[in-house]
Amino acid sequence: MRGVSVAVVVFPGTNSEDETLRALLAVGLDGELVHWSQPERLARFDAFVLPGGFAYEDRIRAGAVAAHDAVMDPVIEAAQAGKFVLGICNGAQMLAEAGLVPGTGPVRRPTAAFAPNASGRFQSVHVHVKLAVAPERVPVLAGIEPNAVIPAWASHGDGRLAAPPDELARIERDGHRAFVYCDRDGNEVDAPNGSALNAAGLVNREGNVLAIMPHPERDAWTYQHLDASRDAARGDARAALAPSGGIRFFEHFARAVRREVPA
């Protein structure tokens, strides 16, 4: 019997598929890259990850063209059927454009967006994000502890949550704001991109679709981390390749995909 398997969907312009797949494999999942021209391959997968990059060169709007791509049809159907879908950075933008997060409107009629940063510039900074909802609200991250802090790299030009005021109120009230920016100790800080509600991630009502702007897969190993642990590991391959905080994010995703019931 095969293990549970995750499709990492690759669009023209995706650039984070390899490290995303590596993180999934490291936590014991089976996974494969599936290109946008192969939507027929997606039916057999148990879960889906939309990785980061610049799908279709961010033409029209970041994530907009990909959200309407034929390969998204089976992803949307799977999400509606309760399968787990994770979008990271450009993948998060796609999920917003597809209307899957916050998921308060019809499919492909977005009610929110990850819009251009307030700075007007592409930013690449190391950040921490904190779970901002009860763990029960995010079954896509099974077993994650309350207020969990995850290190990641924010690397985007369009990561600012934007929505009309009533929609922002709904996002906050109904627990769609899954992650907020924080410091390493979990104290909430201002989003580097000017994101409304300090939001770093959104989850849908059912909790099976999660969009997160910063990249946990880019802080999955100690050599990628940005503190003294990385410096201490210099010259020691084993220490440098030891799991870092970002891998915990994928461990919880793996528990969800395996349908492990949190203790």
Binding site: R59, I60, A64, H68, E97, R109, A113, G120, A162, A163
Partner: protein, 150 residues
């Protein structure tokens, strides 16, 4: 007494094939919108004090707006979209005062829009209902953008 303020509008189009417009055409076709050709332009609206006589020449010299090797630049007679055209703009727009770090003499505010025009097989504007459908389903994300039509 302050000088009169006016808005000058410039459209920049690609003289080379416009991949973004082609991608929009592909997506709109997939959405079932009857369009044969998509024309896109960057719209630069400059709020100026007084006549700013050399403005067109200055704008043409700013490569972040207009690269003569690949762009065509034209000043528009109106600060509103042409018939059959839609402009997509940020909803909560803070006008810029510089382009690529360069201020423009006499310009106090700079706004940028994307203009879209959808044409049918005969080169005519598609029906307004089709343009509306294109706006609602793809060209504009109302969460942070507004669509401006005539």
């Amino acid at each position: 007494m302050t000088a009169a303020t006016a808005t000058r509008t410039f459209a920049v189009t690609l003289a080379i094939p416009d991949n973004e417009a082609f991608t929009a055409l592909e997506t709109l076709s997939r959405l079932g919108i009857g369009v044969a050709r998509v024309v896109r332009a960057d719209i630069w609206q400059l709020e100026v004090d007084g006549a700013a006589d050399d403005l067109a020449k200055t704008v043409a010299s700013i490569e972040a707006i207009h690269n003569p090797n690949k762009h065509r630049l034209a000043e528009r007679p109106s600060d509103r979209p042409a018939s059959g055209e839609v402009w997509i703009a940020p909803r909560d727009e803070a006008p810029a005062t510089a382009v690529a770090g360069r201020t423009i003499p006499g310009v106090r505010a700079i706004r940028r829009r994307t203009a879209w025009r959808l044409l049918d097989d005969d080169g005519r504007d598609v029906a307004p209902t089709e343009l509306d459908r294109a706006i609602e389903t793809f060209l504009c994300n109302p969460a942070f953008q507004v669509a401006i039509t005539t």
